[in-house]
Amino acid sequence: MQFSPEALIVLAPLVAAAFAGLLQRYIGDKLAMGLTTASVGLSLVLSWPIFIDFVWGEGHERVIELFRFIDVAGFTSIWSVRIDTLSAVMLVVVNTVSFLVHVYSIGYMAEDPHRARFFSYLSFFTFAMLSLVTANDFLQLFFGWEGVGVASYLLIGFWFQKRSANDAAIKAFVTNRVGDFGFALGIMAAFICYGSIQFDAAFEAARAAPDMMIGVGEVRFRAVEVVAFLLFIGAMGKSAQFFLHVWLPDAMEGPTPVSALIHAATMVTAGVFMVCRAGELYEMAPLASGFVTIIGATTALFAATVGLAQNDIKRVVAYSTCSQLGYMFFAAGVGAYNAAMFHLFTHAFFKALLFLGAGSVIHGLHHEQDMRYMGGLRKPMPITWAMMLIGTFALIGFGIPGLGGFAGFYSKDAIIEAAYGSHGIGAQFAFWCGVTAALLTSFYSWRLAFMTFEGRYRPNPHAHHDDHGHDDHHAAPADGSAPAHESPWIMLAPLFVLAAGAIAAGAIFYPYFLGDHAGAFWDRAIPFHEGHHDFPAWVLWAPLIVTVTGFLFAVGFYLWRPGAAKAMAKGPVWAFLYNKWYFDEIYDFIFVKGARALGDLFWKVGDRRLIDGLGPDGVAATSRFFSRNLRKLQTGFVYHYSFIMLIAAVAFGAYAIFAGIGGGQ
């Protein structure tokens, strides 16, 4: 184990997290915040040159091995820092957003008594995420995977006095565990089939035996399909895909910077990263890839429909994240791993921007999150408004084909085109889901923007005044603008950086992720196919057309005829969407109540009546008889009893020891 800057990138946040967490009482909040922020800043400074080297320089793939984690008869995991194009992309995404979120939180959490703990968790999360993306084998990936899971659990439940926050934290952890169930089995299957859990070795073994079968008895499947399918179950959990998406909206109980970092830009994209990392397996597994495509496309559309009807500003953005992750997955499913990664890259900027912007709004409005009680915020919060506008343009992927546009334009359009051009299972379905979801995305994004910033301020009639003494703000100005204040500079500065990314990241990096230099850029990090460039014009223009359509609908409903929106919100379709297709109710009934009923059955009927009833309680009658006698032992008898036992044991031991000195071997 020798020093290397790559290892420092991963370990610096861990060291800072440990200091801030363990010594918070002694070093104080300021030092804890400074230390953690600086450590992530260090990682940031070290990771950008690596990325730039891959983009414009001679970046070369390398693996720095640190120590043996587990090594049992071929099941070997070496703790490593793997640097290639894929991990370099993730390094800059994670460190950039994490650093900005650290800085932003200094302002956002300024009044929280547990700031040191908060920053410790943030840095710990960063460490876990970095170890995930730099893994060289499945087990280290899993280590990071669970590490970010526990960080997410701790941060969602950060305000531990709130019952809803605690429940959301447990829901997130347990739902992710359902995914991990598949992921862990996928790792085992990969080990059994390919004899290794190191990425390169496993992929090579898979290539060497593409038609290997696995199964029990008569039930046999192609090994690579099984491995790819099981791994994707893990990705569904972590990246909140259809069926396992239920935890992500609830995760908004955590402080908003957490939502930006973990539940938008980094952790939830780990599933996409993993599918790309194991892209070589998915290349060989058309069925599993088809499953990825269909789940991704379904999520993209489903989450967008739910996003239409939410009133909580963070939940709208959360469903939007869920939907955008769906885009990334169906891109990977149709084999456009580079498009998936590019969307991951650009999405990190504009989604973090939107979340932090939403945080700024919430901060400005004294923790009001319900958009029905916003409006008129453009005037008091002009900078936040401008930043949110940039984020919105990037999210809806605004741009003119052939000319250029915001970051999301390059990545999202590439995904939609890739789906159109693919012959994979579910690709055409994904194309139409993608286009439809783009329409809905535009609508809910503008709905959010209009309800928040435009119109007249609508005060919350049920507002519970918190005791921070902000009463002066609650008197609404006469011109209809909201009684809010712009956020401090320490919160706005990170927004500027992210906004720059949301504007320009697409245009700058398009040639490398997707365009002419893509082959050289990706090298062997992911399977790369030269894309088509001869799509019909309507395919190229469809995203722009639906985006503008969505915008016009939003203008109609929320600017010109606000009454229409209110009328719409009374219909049954709206209720269905507002209640998230009733997933929570169904899951609660089947899984939560089911587990309780089964647990009670096993306990009260199984253990008590059957096992104890037939077994020891027959003997219990006897024991009651004995118990009368045992009570006597409690006085002095116990002491006699143990004494006799002891004499025997000791005499025996003494004999052994004395004899043993002579006869010992």
Binding site: V72, R177, M188, A189, I192, P616, L630, G653, A656
Partner: protein, 503 residues
């Protein structure tokens, strides 16, 4: 250090040093007239001194031990009655369990500082118990093993029956009868084996068995007889119901020893006897054991989810975790056996620590009812942090010692039967549900029970008790290779013996 140990019967010293401490306490007790103030504290200090000394001596044994050598080491043989020998010796499996025992017992003594009733008897019993537990792992003669194995029942029976809670007598008898009935069958099998093989020496018996001394038909009966004893000890489903009752009634330190070490004797027995001596029968019964293991994992996890008593919940989670151990053992693969050994060591630390966590609040509030608590993090932040760490260990989070054992046993199982691994993996989901729910109910939220207003955080003694466990959990979780490399030879030998009989 290894030179120091040479020529000394160091295993016997490790084994009987606690008993020597017990004698000293008894002598002191006899010479004392009446109860002088401070007397009880002296007894506690004496017990602490002897258990720490035992740990230190065991470190010498550890240093003298060569993990690269697959043979039994530090052996001692003294002729004894009836042609049998007093024989001691350890391989890497036994050595690791001895270290676990000597490491945990001083912490148990510390946790027993709150005992006020008949302190000297309590400490005497505890020290005797330690001698018997270490003896189980060191014995190289099967009769000697049996004496230690059964002897351990008696002090535990008394500890529960006298210092236990309200239903202590019921629990003590349930514990005693269950485990004794299982063991009697084992005794019959042992007598038969000695008579057939003409030796009671465990290595010699193993050799005899592996040369085909016991026919496959005989193996079936012997295997079942041993299984009856070890399955109860583990405990496996459906003979697990004594464990929750025993835990609930036992004083804290007895719970720790019960969960951390006594349960490990079942796993040790499977690894020492069932697999190497009756490999053919083990193959026959593999599907049976797998079925019981997976049922135990799912059943106990779901039952744990519904418990209202903290100790009962942890006891049921122990049953589930032991399911991973039996599953791993009977895969007969290196990963499975290594995972099982690791899981035994890790469970010793984590479940022990969890029972200590319950003890901390029980000592303050005298109830284990989950609903009584809530919001403890507000008044006990350090306690909450430590409790969270062990909760995560219980959940099998990577980075804690709970993870490598679970994943390795499942990797082993997957090679034999993927559905078994999938069934066990369900436990990974359930454990998160019950452990985190328990934590939320106890630690998070606001304090609503006014009785908790004055509850204080860990005191110095509790700090000292927990810190070694915290370190052990993290070190074993972050660098499991140290342990896995150490136990490699035993696992390989067991796996080879088992594979040799593969039909």
């Amino acid at each position: 250090m290894s030179e120091l140990a040479a020529g000394w019967p160091i295993l016997s010293i490790v084994t009987f040093l606690p008993a020597a401490g017990a004698i000293l306490i008894l002598l002191a007790r006899m010479s004392a007239r009446g109860d002088s103030p401070g007397y009880d504290n002296g007894v506690k200090l004496l017990a602490l001194f002897f258990t720490i000394a035992t740990f230190i001596v065991s470190l010498f044994a550890f240093a003298a031990f060569d993990p690269a050598n697959p043979d039994y080491q530090l052996t001692e043989t003294v002729p004894w009655a009836f042609g049998m020998n007093y024989a001691m010796g350890v391989d890497t499996l036994a050595m690791s369990l001895v270290m676990l025992t000597t490491f945990l017992t001083p912490l148990c003594i510390l946790a027993s500082w709150v005992i006020e009733k008949q302190v000297s008897s309590y400490m005497v019993l505890f020290l005797v118990l330690e001698t018997l537990m270490i003896g189980v792992f060191c014995a190289q003669d099967i009769i000697l093993f049996y004496v230690f194995f059964e002897g351990g029942l008696i002090p535990m029976f008394i500890l529960i029956g006298v210092w236990g809670g309200e239903r202590r007598v019921y629990a003590a008898f349930k514990f005693f009868l269950y485990t004794l009935l299982g063991s009697l069958l084992m005794l019959v099998a042992i007598v038969y084996m000695i008579a057939t093989a003409g030796t009671s020496n465990i290595p010699a018996l193993t050799e005899y068995a592996q040369d085909g001394g016991f026919s496959p038909e005989v193996q079936i009966w012997l295997w079942l007889a041993f299984f009856a004893s070890f399955a109860v000890k583990m405990p496996m489903w459906p003979v697990h119901t004594w464990l929750p009752d025993a835990h609930v009634e036992a004083p804290t330190a007895a719970s720790v020893v019960l969960a951390a070490i006594l349960l490990k004797m079942g796993g040790y027995g499977f690894l020492r006897f069932s697999l190497p001596m009756f490999p053919d029968a083990s193959h026959v019964f593999t599907p049976f054991v797998f079925a019981l293991s997976v049922i135990a994992i799912v059943w106990a996890s779901l039952v744990a989810f519904r418990q209202l008593d903290m100790k009962k919940l942890i006891a049921y989670s122990s049953v589930a975790h032991m399911g991973f151990v039996t599953m791993g053992i009977f895969t007969g693969t290196i990963q499975g056996v290594q995972g099982a050994i690791f899981q035994m060591l890790s469970h010793g630390i984590i479940s022990g620590a969890l029972f200590l966590c319950v003890g901390v609040v029980y000592d303050r509030m005298h109830t284990r009812e989950i609903a009584f608590y809530g919001g403890l993090v507000n008044r006990m932040p350090v306690y909450a942090a430590i409790f969270l760490l062990f909760t995560m260990g219980n959940v099998g989070l990577p980075g804690t010692s709970g993870f490598p054992g679970e994943i390795l046993t499942m990797v082993g199982a997957f090679q034999v039967n993927a559905w078994v691994a999938a069934g066990a993996a369900l436990g990974v989901i359930f454990s998160a549900a019950y452990a985190l729910t328990l934590y939320r109910k106890v630690a998070f939220g606001v304090i609503e029970n006014p009785k908790l207003d004055g509850i204080g955080d860990l005191d110095a003694r509790e700090w000292v008790t927990f810190i070694p466990l915290v370190i052990a959990t993290l070190v074993m979780g972050l660098a499991p290779s140290y342990v896995l490399d150490f136990t490699h030879n035993s696992a390989e030998a067991i796996s080879t013996a088992f594979a040799g009989a593969r039909p």
